[in-house]
Amino acid sequence: MKSYTDNIKEISKRLLKEDKVDMVIGYRTGSVPLMHQPFFAQNQEEVDEFVWDSNCGLNLANYITDRTERIGILATGCNSRNIAVHIVEGKIKREQLYIIGIPCKGMVDRHKLSAMADGDITSVEDENNGSITITGQNFSKTVDKAEVLQENCSVCVHRNPVIYDELAAEEVTEQKRDDVDPYARVKEIEALSPEEKWAHFDDLLSDCIRCYACRNACPLCYCPLCFVDESNPQWVGKSIDHTDVRTFHFLRAYHCAGRCTDCGACVRSCPVGINVRDFTKKLEKDCLELFDWEAGLNTEQRPPLDTYRPDDPEEFIK
């Protein structure tokens, strides 16, 4: 995927040179494997630090909230959708942005790869032929990239950016909902009995340390004061009591309903590997089914829970 990186550098340099933008937001190589760092370049030298491969999993839309500069930003399908949500919600103006669209082939799951490794991974090679090689002190493994994709990427149906000013590579073929079922996992949970569901989420959240990485990695969570941080009234207890932990996850997910693009930043950033998407994906599915809505596909329409229409479904009222 060298060409991606080269193209990104080229475009970024041009934008900075032509003074089209004040900064370009991208990634630079991380100091540990699987972890590239969101990074902004303001000059040509800094642009040279840019990198693009399948370890760029955090959502860059998180970094443009309320910024006032003219910004060039890399955007994959989901990132671009979050940028669109940001524009709708007044967090940034479209005019401020020069969106460098990145047709995306998915990001690798750092939790999955670390679990596969026999020891610590020292380097990761993202081959162009769709395989990933991880190397550690005493091992080296090559795996099919498709198998180690983040789950959200493997079921992604919007790999190409929905809004952009320029593409850094040719568009990739989109997966169709007929081919991949984005909601397979949701359906599995839906099929459980209430007790099993409760137990599933209890287990899911048992490791949560309430570090709020999921919330803070999420571009949607930009409130100046999050409800969990409010002290008067204190909606949620601050300890790791399981009721409080669940309340946090449940309400955070609900706040993202109709806005979440399933970018997977929450899961990727979780230090203990909780699949927070078990909450958000359900809401995504409901929004699609009830309101025919997918988040961030345009910059005009507000998400369904922000608006009321007389024809909103109300089967839940009995």
Binding site: I189, E195, K197, F201, G237, T243, D286, F316
Partner: protein, 57 residues
């Protein structure tokens, strides 16, 4: 909201939505009674989302 609550294991019987106008007192009594009974008759008596004892150190 109801869907998500159910998704994470709150029984559908525990959350109920009805339109009841201020004039429909009997309907209100009915609905309230039915919902209460439905919730009480659930097999699992464990209170969900109710903090009874802090499960911390």
């Amino acid at each position: 909201m109801k869907n998500l609550l159910e998704h994470m294991g709150i029984e559908p019987e525990r959350l109920h939505f009805s339109w009841i106008s201020s004039a429909e007192s009997t309907k209100f009594v009915d609905v309230a009674t039915k919902v209460t009974e439905a919730a009480k008759s659930l097999e699992n008596k464990e209170k969900k989302f109710v903090k009874t004892k802090p499960k911390v150190a």
